[in-house]
Symmetry: C2
Subunit: 151 residues, 2 copies
C-alpha cells in the first residue's frame, strides 16, 4: 500500500502529525488553567529572553506583532507578565515575568513533561534520550531554539 516514497513514509509527515497530537494533548492539560499552548510558548520565550521587546519575542516565536499583542494581553491580565515602557525608547515595551508568572511557568513545565511521559511511553530511556538530542539539533538548525535553550 504505502512504500518508501509515500507521504506517510516521510519523516516530516510523522513530525507534523506527532507534533499536532502533542500540542492537542498539552492543550487539554492546560485548559483548566485557562491557558493555551501559545501562552506557554510565550512564557518560555520570556524566560529565555528577559526584558525583550514585543518584537524580539515575535521574531523568537515567528509570530507577527499583532499576534504577540493578544497573547501578551492575556498573560498581563493573568498577572503572569508585566509590560514596562523602555525609558530610552518609549515606543518599546520590555516584557518581564512576574513572580506569579514564574510559578505558572513551573506548573506548565510540569504538565509538558507529563505530556512527554504519555507520548513517549513506548520508548526506552535510551531511545527517549536519543530522540531528544536529535530534535535539539534539528530545532537549533531551524532557528526554533537559541543556543542556550536546549536544556
Amino acid at each position: 500500500m504505502t512504500n518508501d516514497h509515500s507521504i506517510a513514509a516521510s519523516t516530516g509527515f510523522l513530525l507534523s502529525k506527532i507534533g499536532q497530537t502533542t500540542t492537542n494533548l498539552f492543550a487539554e492539560k492546560l485548559a483548566p488553567l485557562g491557558l493555551r499552548p501559545k501562552h506557554c510558548g510565550l512564557l518560555a520565550a520570556v524566560a529565555g529572553l528577559p526584558s525583550a521587546s514585543q518584537q524580539d519575542l515575535g521574531s523568537a516565536m515567528s509570530l507577527v506583532p499583532s499576534a504577540i499583542v493578544s497573547i501578551i494581553d492575556d498573560l498581563e491580565t493573568a498577572r503572569a507578565i508585566r509590560r514596562t515602557q523602555d525609558v530610552v525608547d518609549r515606543r518599546r515595551h520590555s516584557i518581564e515575568l512576574t513572580e506569579k508568572g514564574r510559578s505558572l511557568l513551573k506548573r506548565v513545565s510540569k504538565l509538558a513533561h507529563e505530556v512527554d511521559d504519555q507520548v513517549l511511553a513506548s520508548l526506552s530511556a535510551a531511545e527517549r534520550a536519543a530522540l531528544h538530542s536529535i530534535l535539539v539539533r534539528v530545532a537549533l538548525d531551524a532557528g526554533i531554539l537559541q543556543g542556550d535553550q536546549q536544556g
Copy 2:
C-alpha cells in the same frame, strides 16, 4: 536561564515546534499546486485505506465528519478522488483515488521528501534513520499510523 525542568527542555515542546515548522514548509511547497497539507493527509489516508467511507477516513485522521466533507469536496473538484455511493448502504460513500489522484500523490510525496531534506539537513544518514524509526514507534503507539503504513 532554561534547565532540565523548563518547557523548552521537554521533548513534546520540540515536537510541537518542529512539527509546526515542518507543516509550514510543506504548505509553502504545496501552494503552487493549490493544495494544503490537509489535502495531502487525506490523499495519504485514502491510499492507505482504499474504498473507505468518509467516516472511516475521519477516524483515521482524527477529524470530525464536517471537516472531512470540505476536504473531499476540494479533492473531488480537483478530480483527484471519486465519491461512489455504496450499493448495499446508500448512506455511505466509498472514496477512491482517481488516476489523477495517484499522480498527484506522487508529486506531493516528492515534495514531502524535499521538506525532509531541508528540515533534517544537519543530521547524518544514521541519525535520520534513527529519528525516523523512533518516530514510527511513537506514531504507531499514538494511533497516528496503522500497522501497514510505516513505509
